[in-house]
Subunit: 205 residues, 2 copies
């Protein structure tokens, strides 16, 4: 049987268009909203109208921001000589939560992925090279996913950056804290053996 | 670290207010929307503004509808002498999908649940009794959940309806089709033994 209201059907369709939301969940969510007060539902819908209308992207690092320059780029305490390359905001939040990084970021907006039709020109790479070419940058930290696409993008950036006088580093690969050795894939375990560290370094944190 | 945009934060908060959506999922959904076109996001937000503004409830059965009378109550082919009592629209959709019921419905809007502060007056029970008291109703089918709350509500309705000349029935309880005997709870299995059926009835469908 079809849903007996075109408006409810439309709300269900919209929820179902979100990633990971099926039609049964979408109906459950729409019926939940229908039970809420008028004001609450109005706020709900309005939040998404405002989102697209008012959110900006930092003109330096392309992070999401309410100002032309984001709060990290605008912070005089952050080291402007270090740029950490990330895919999107979620990665910035993850790195910020470690409290181990005091530099700035550059949000690529994705990875190079020919299968998905995403090439270098679809990402914020040109503006990164501009940032580096103006000078004053000492280190670029590649912090992309350790997937095929992430590795491709890392290599592309490494090649592009090699003409500049900057140090290019990447996140350490190795055994995650809490991991049991028997369950680690052999590539990670192999690399962590090759790149083994002096024991004293593990006592630092 | 906080989300660097108040508008994005608000969108995340709104998603996270939905049942079963955590803050990480909410952020993922909001970032997904941010990547969509202006028109798509506008449609998304607008769908929920329209939902609450335009959706009506059928004045006879309280089902969701775009008209004062829903498409089932308004259908001359449906048997107006049978009323199936359900909790909400999801249950109507489930029963309609069986194609075994040709009567009408009455949507209670929930179950009696003192722990959640839901009493009989919070449900569409008064209007059900009115429907029955006007006459012409021959059978009431109780199709509520087989939970403590559903059973309580069933019993309450049964008592209230006993003063009218209507047959009150309930959905058959028993072994679900596809179930393996060893995994069935003993109450269901016991009842299905007590209420055993002539073998021929299982050949009908």
């Amino acid at each position: 049987m079809e849903i007996p209201s075109a408006y409810l059907q439309e709300a269900v369709n919209q929820f179902a268009s979100l990633p990971g939301v099926g039609r049964k969940t979408a109906l459950r969510l729409a019926l939940f909203l229908l039970k809420q007060s008028n004001d609450e539902v109005k706020q709900f819908g309005q939040a998404f109208l405002n989102l697209k209308e008012h959110v900006q992207f930092c003109k330096q690092c392309h992070n999401i921001s309410d100002e032309p320059l984001c709060s990290i780029c605008n912070n005089p305490k952050r080291d402007q000589e270090q740029i950490c390359i990330v895919e999107d905001l979620k990665d910035i939040l993850a790195i910020e939560s470690t409290q181990q990084f005091t530099g700035t970021y550059h949000v690529l907006g994705g990875n190079i992925s020919p299968l998905d039709g995403i090439g270098p020109t679809d990402l914020n790479i040109e503006s990164l090279l501009e940032r580096v070419s103006t000078g004053g940058i000492k280190e670029i930290i590649l912090a992309l996913s350790t997937t095929m696409e992430g590795d491709t993008t890392n290599f592309y950036l490494y090649k592009k950056l090699s003409s500049f006088d900057v140090k290019v580093t990447t996140l350490a690969r190795g055994v995650a804290i809490g991991d049991e050795l028997e369950y680690i894939d052999e590539v990670t375990l192999g690399r962590s053996l090759v790149n083994r560290l002096p024991y004293e370094s593990s006592l630092k944190h």
